[in-house]
């Protein structure tokens, strides 16, 4: 079971969180013309990376905040975690 450092609450077990997928996906702006391809990329197409992956988790049984987690998909190592509004390099 992973041990995730919630930037709001501190170290918490994985069973307090729910997974939210790739954090690098940006929703197209509202009321903007979007091609089929762009929309498909947003809704469906995801890379299945091996290695470092920036992903979303929600601390659902804690502060309920969505957070960003940089995790290695092969080793499960977690490098860094961010608040939802924090940008990352």
């Amino acid at each position: 079971m992973l041990y995730i450092n919630c930037p709001h609450c501190g170290m918490r077990s994985q069973n307090e969180f729910s997974y939210g997928g790739d954090a690098s996906v940006k929703r197209p702006e509202l009321n903007k013309e979007v091609s089929d391809q762009e929309w498909d990329n947003f809704v469906y197409n995801r890379k299945s990376l091996r290695g470092k992956h920036l992903e979303l988790w929600q601390h659902i049984s804690g502060c309920r905040q969505w957070i960003k987690v940089e995790r290695d998909t092969a080793t499960h190592e977690i490098f860094r975690t961010f608040k939802a509004d924090e940008e990352f390099a």
Partner: protein, 998 residues
Amino acid sequence: MTQAFRIENGGLINRDKKLSFKFNGKTYFGYEGDTLASALLANGVHLVGRSFKYHRPRGFFGAGVDEPYAVVQLYRNGETEPNIKATEQELFEGLEAKSVNCWPSVNFDIGAINNFLRIFLPAGFYYKTFMWPKSFWYRIYEPFIRKAAGLGVASTKHDKERYEHKYEHCDLLIAGSGPSGLAGAYAAAKNGAKVILAEDKPRFGGSLLTSDVNIGNQSGKDWAEGIIAELKTMPNVVVKNRSQIFGYYDHNMLVMSEKVSDHLPSTKKYHPNKRLWYIRAKEVLISSGSIERPIVFGNNDTPGVMLSSAAKEYLKVYGVLVGRKPLVFTNNDSGYETAIEFKKHGVDPVVLDSRKNPDSEIIDEANNLGINIKNSYVVVAAQGYKKVKSADIASISEDKKQLGKIENIQCDCICVSGFWTPTIHLASQSGNKTKFKEEIDAFVPGQSKQNEITLGAANGEFSLEETLKTSFTAGSELSKKITENDNKIAIPNVVEKKSSQHDKFWCVPLPKGKSYKRFLDFQNDVAVSDVEIALREGYRSIEHVKRYTTLGMATDQGKTSNLNGLQLVSEIENKVVPAVGHTTFRPPYTPVSIGAIVGREVGKHSKPTRKSPMHSWHEKNNAVFVDAGVWLRPRYYRRGNENLFEGSKREAKNVRTNVGVCDVTTLGKIDIKGPDAAELLNRVYTNAWLKLPVGKARYGVMLREDGIVMDDGTTTRISENHYHMTTTTAQAANVLSHLEYYLQLVWPELNVNVVSTTEQWAGAAIAGPKSRDLLQKLFPNSDVSNEGLPFMGYMEGDLFGVKARIYRISFSGELAYEVNVESDYGNFMWEKIIEVGEEFNIQPYGTEALSTLRIEMGHVAGSELDGRTIPFDNALEGLVSKKKDFIGKRSLQRSAFIAEDRQRIVGVVPLDKQTSIPEGSHLVKDDKAPLPNPKLGHISASCWSVEYDNPFSLAILKDGKNMIGQKLFAMSPLKNKVIPVEIVSSHYVDPKGERVRS
């Protein structure tokens, strides 16, 4: 029965407490502190079971977790448990156990014919033989194999025992209480670290219990006892025996199974049988020790052949002689330690050492005691069927290829030592890259991946002095990092005998003309010849060899077999062992009860049960409950001998004619506040929300980004910047997460807060033509007339002194209201409604009537919003705004979603107006068409229409829009029904929606 093999004195058992037990129906005696294995051996019982494949007689091979054979079926306190190792099961008064894998009895087992058919049962036999014809697998092969194989029988009864889970954090977790575990624990504890020390056996001390060493001028055993006693007094230390750490998972999470009650005749009141500990450790010290390795020779599975360390443990811990004429077969000094113990107890052993000129302190001692030692000698084969009677022995050439003349010597047991294999399972599970250590012919942990360190014998370090030194140091260093204390500990003096180099010899060659079975894996009956076949047939990867031959599988996980298997593969393949590699060690290290894994989450505890504030009223009024998500809701209120059909029909009918009340507390409720609340709703729902006036409710549908309907419900504008959203019972949690996702990540600029208020409000839906009259009586000071409170209106009211929210919304399609009060007043509200409603013939109605009412009105619910439908499919396209953008809108342009013949909700009525259509039935054009009959749609919900008194269903049907009036067939192969039906409008009752506005 006398305990003929129990020595007069000695051992760590309590001779003052005699215990009786039964094995295979026969009564024996042992002592408190015995295991089932030691007690049986004290009684001279060696035959405990039959082997897995060949049903050969099997005895005891080890004395603990390493035991591959002695698996029994245990009977305790009216319960039975399979797969119990006799070497681990502590004796208690009245214990009963039986052999497994044998029929009709362990002494005469019909399956042993497999032993003579063994040339027909080589590796891969099952794969090759039981494959064809395919249909035979389920009917013939599988039942046969199931009957023939297996390690006992699981009980089919409900398990009365209780199992608990515990979550724990610590600075240092230590697996194993041998010398390195004790030293590490002691040093870390002295530095103030929070330490958990786990020992799988009942007694602490590991190898110190049986080895002849001195630590700080005490015997090893006394030193261990002293350390444990001191650790137990320290508040920062948890010391646990009978506790096996069986799994090492991500981020230093380890799981330990504590046997709380297995050593007692019955579990104490309020105690669990087992407790599963989930331990998150900052640092882990693996001090799991090592397991003695067998040497492979002919018939090496005969009862009476066992590890020399086990023989020593039976003697020193339990005071039991495993034989009176022992033969010790060794390639290292450990065998001599066992021989010396025999000699000390007046038994004359013979030692066969594969080495030519071994020389060490231990061997000198053995010589001085006058022990008969034969160098360059090996056991070629054990003789005897149900028990060792003699051994064929021979001298062996220096290259270990040529055997000398075979002699037969009498013996009643053969104690084998092929050196030691470090127990690296936990380290390997943690992701540690193990490495091969040439000097000991075994793998040891290498590069750590997590915060784990392996010390002592588990790390291939067999010197006690070195082990204590590194372990004290590691305990200090690891704890210093965490607590920043640095209390120096003096490392005690150690007196131990120096050992000489072991012999890299593991398998006795077959003498010419002989074809003895030489077993590698005792539990799975894998012999040298099986691995040879696998390699001959082209299996190269060790993982494939494992699966083809079953080497190292099952509960044993290769504890004694792993390395000898690798030695064989590397020899045949002409590779070195590290190039062959080892198979993956997987948790659990030892079998874990399913009960312990499940813990308390059984039956109604498997998920939380949520009850509305009116629950006890429902109970008192004969409600029959149904699970709705995690909620318990009344399905109907039984009157007399009514069944579900009759009861729900009565309730629904009463709503259509008088008035009914339904507990709708379970609906998800979300409080939405902030200046941008309207904007959020406008983006989340498909319809327009910016112009909703205060005091008005609106029905809305929300989509996922892929255009599929996520949920529906009404949202009410309570005040300028305050909205009250309702969701379906099932989707409440998901909708809240959904809103939070968009507010926190996508549109953080929106100034809105959302919070769940599901538990804060109790809700009652009052529905039926007389509902307004009732409402007026409930709220005499409010104007609830059609003008004062129109359809989709909202007001606050005073319910006999309690503040209430009144929404004029309807799911039943009747004139209806929903009243909310704070949860604490829920029951008060309910009782008032029932009391005041009496004059209007009010009846409570449950979810079944609720469904009936909504189905015949064509209102969609979870069975239509099933994660596969878009608004059009549910005839909700009128709610999809063309002007504004919202979540999922772009997806609605997908070609499949705008196809001309897109599926759509319809009503379905059986032509005979009699036959109810099973939910899930498929709609087809031609009931006689060959399979697969093209499916046009499916029945999503069925009811008995109380309006028309005939069956009515909703369906999602291809091109539903143009199918009204068509005749189709509803087919349910599950219920074996074919029903001719007519497609009608989904709005079966009051299609114009006049009633809700009346």
